[in-house]
Symmetry: C2
């Protein structure tokens, strides 16, 4: 709980943009991570960097925990107020400040929905590629804080590859820009890249300058059914080895597609008894003939991997249906049961091996998993469904199984989060990939920015 004097300070500062009623606090106490809920003592909705600064410097002086939150679509609990205190929702920072067509840049506030940003720049013929599955609801500020990926990352890179400059507010209340609005920068330490992916533990982002690229004018999409999920994973690296970089290369296990079709009430995709997994493959560019050539090459590669008949999307509507099935897979699978989602990533050639470990460990410990993800990046989301498993197993045994899985991931040169972040729920596993020295460096960097540990305390570390 927060002392009355503090609540009064915030209420005076933000007036009707501060909220202490239990219902609102409860809503803001959850993100999309499992069934967790940690209501903050107060929800604040500042709308200027100066207001964020006033809140942070007050909390810094009074050692009050602050959780910054975007659209709360995160999957690692990064926006959960598990230490109570203040939750700062960035939803009022919802302006696209400037689309700079002359320089192919956009300056945007962190509370803009990623898809809204994408559509706005697309109207100018420009492209901001990184879009997580939640692009219709997530905020660009959250994407920066988690270094989000999404299906286009395989060709176009992740959020960190597009951020040129950030305006941030430090826990001390100081407002700074981390870099410059330029494509290359060798001027001092890269504070911009340090803030990206720091999950709201170092500073609060109030403005973002992003690089844009010309929007591709054409794309082609195919859905490929495999009789063997391992073979589908093997086909992934083979496509790259043929010299093709698809603009999307997604993997979906049989159950993921079945659950998702049921969830969205769609039945256009016929899933035969012997379909074990699908790859959704997109190529994009500026020249339809070249895309056709690439598709032919891909089909040539796939011939070695025992597929059923390939479905080529023949209309925008069908493309949208296929992408929507992939994007809704998370929601659909999770609607089945309580779940835990792991965000494994390995060098892409080891994907079949990773899938083998997931299933082997599932059999060993007795859990059912449904996998899908950005196979082209070697990034597989592993959804473990609680179903009929006991609470004891879920609490005591499962973490041991997950630790075993992550150890295999690390052994393959991979790591424990590709795009969801560590936040609250992956924290216990961080020692698998980082030793005491790396952890010490990170903790001390945290102290440099946030000496009183007020900003998202207990996240990552």
């Amino acid at each position: 709980m927060l002392a009355g004097v503090h609540l009064m300070f915030f209420e005076e500062l933000l007036g009707n943009r501060s909220f202490t009623d239990v219902e609102i606090r409860k809503i803001y106490g959850s993100d999309e991570t499992e069934d967790l809920n940690f209501p903050p003592a107060i929800v604040l909705k500042p709308n200027t960097p100066e207001e964020v600064s006033a809140i942070l410097s007050y909390c810094h002086e009074n050692q009050i925990p602050v959780t910054p939150a975007g659209a709360r679509t995160g999957l690692s609990g990064g926006a959960l107020s598990d230490h109570g205190g203040v939750l700062i929702s960035m939803e009022k920072f919802d302006k696209i400040i400037e689309i700079d067509e002359k320089n192919h840049q956009v300056t945007v506030e962190p509370g803009v929905i990623t898809q809204v940003l994408q559509n706005a720049v697309k109207e100018k013929g420009l492209f901001y590629p990184p879009d997580p599955a939640s692009k219709g609801s997530c905020f660009i500020g959250g994407n920066v804080s988690e270094n989000s990926g999404g299906p286009k990352a395989v060709k176009y890179g992740v959020t960190k590859d597009y951020v040129l400059n950030l305006e941030i507010v430090l826990p001390s209340g100081e407002i700074i820009w981390t870099g410059a609005n330029v494509l290359k920068n060798a001027t001092g330490y890269n504070l911009t890249q340090l803030i990206i992916g720091s999950e709201g533990t170092l500073a609060i982002i109030t403005k973002i300058v992003l690089k844009l690229i010309p929007h591709p004018t054409h794309d082609m999409l195919m859905l490929v059914p495999f009789y063997d999920a391992q073979k589908a994973c093997e086909a992934v690296a083979a496509i790259f080895q043929a010299g093709i970089i698809p603009s999307g290369l997604e993997f979906m296990e049989r159950d993921a597609l079945i659950y998702t079709q049921a969830f969205v009430g769609e039945s256009s995709i016929e899933i035969a008894e012997n379909h074990a997994a699908h790859l959704l493959i997109e190529v994009d560019g500026f020249d339809p003939d070249q895309l056709m050539t690439e598709c032919e090459k891909i089909v040539g590669v796939l011939e070695c991997f025992e597929t059923d008949e390939i479905l080529f999307a023949d209309s925008e509507a069908q493309k949208n249906t296929l992408w929507s099935l992939r994007r809704k897979a998370g929601e659909a699978v999770k609607s089945q049961s309580m779940y835990k989602e792991e965000d494994t990533v390995v060098p892409r050639f080891y994907l079949p091996e990773l899938l083998g470990h997931i299933k082997r460990i599932g059999t060993k410990y007795g859990f059912h998993s449904v996998c899908y993800g950005h196979a082209g990046d070697g990034n597989l989301h592993v959804n473990i469904l609680k179903g009929n498993l006991s609470d004891e197993f879920w609490r005591d045994e499962l973490p041991i199984a997950i630790r075993e899985l992550f150890s295999e991931v690390a052994r393959l040169g991979g790591t424990i989060s590709g795009e969801h972040g560590i936040g609250l729920v992956q924290k216990p596993y961080l020692d698998i990939v980082f030793g005491e020295t790396e952890m010490r460096l990170m903790r001390e960097i945290k102290k440099v920015f946030d000496p009183h540990n007020i900003l998202n305390p207990g996240k990552i570390f």
Copy 2:
């Protein structure tokens, strides 16, 4: 000077890979920065991370300055031992450890020459794009330390966009990996990106894992003479606005090309009296027809900017000649006189304005400058020639003029180094782009890694 006991320790550790003779120390006392020379007390050439660790932990305990050096091709004095002490030359770390064709990655030691690395991966059909003008002599480790760019950056990004993971030795002697060998990573703070561009002030890099991409199979190159240098700069942004991303877009002022042809004894390019500047424009890809279409589009754009006849390179030999002229421009211009080189970078649409400021300030203070650079990135190298200018002017007045120029760069949203780093010689100007808060953050990050300030002391800060 270094006490005899310290020298003995190092000589015992490295035997005939330690050097104290004055000639060798003098050679290792220079990089390519102006005419500066700061011989270290001893030159060491370790060849394992463990040896680097032993040197660093000894220096850490005994507070001995350590300057890490690559091929010493740097232009900001980052490898100069201006504090004396130990210079660690990484030249024995010269192995390409593994080209992982299955995952499109390479693991390499920092002392491998960038071009050697490029050629080795090209033999496997793979491409490592970032190559500074000095690619035939610079080390990949130096590229990482300075976040080097080069002509391909405009399409393919800079060094930071290819580094997946680094093995580093901390001043304490601890050896760690900063990340994982994966294409996306949301696991803790991005230590990898923090080390990139940190100019040897935080740690010494001993292994580098790089992402590779399929090597384009075709390219086309054209040299475009302009009657007006400003117009050449204006054409740069216009090319991107037409939706084209060239794989090279270089600017050369008239004098740069004249000096370079004279320097390399080449005369195949006819430079007419009224040619004020040239753009060298390359497109690359996998489909010659598409490249032809792109070239036609570029020519269409250029029609609005008053050019003389465009030279299309019609053979590999001619392409090599043109690129070699561009790559040798730095050496050629600098062979004219003592010089100072500034590495300005702005959002690319402001390039004409930047060039205007350079020339205006030159006229005001009375210096001659020759400009060339990676115009597609907004990155212009400004070479100020001493010629007949007095030593007093060079020492007292010129820094004021440079400060004025950098202030205009900052006003345009740019910064003071695009790819050369801050090192020793740009340090006095850092306050133009960073305030006290940003500087404090950087200094404290430095302390986290290097509490005794032994590693490249006096660089950046």
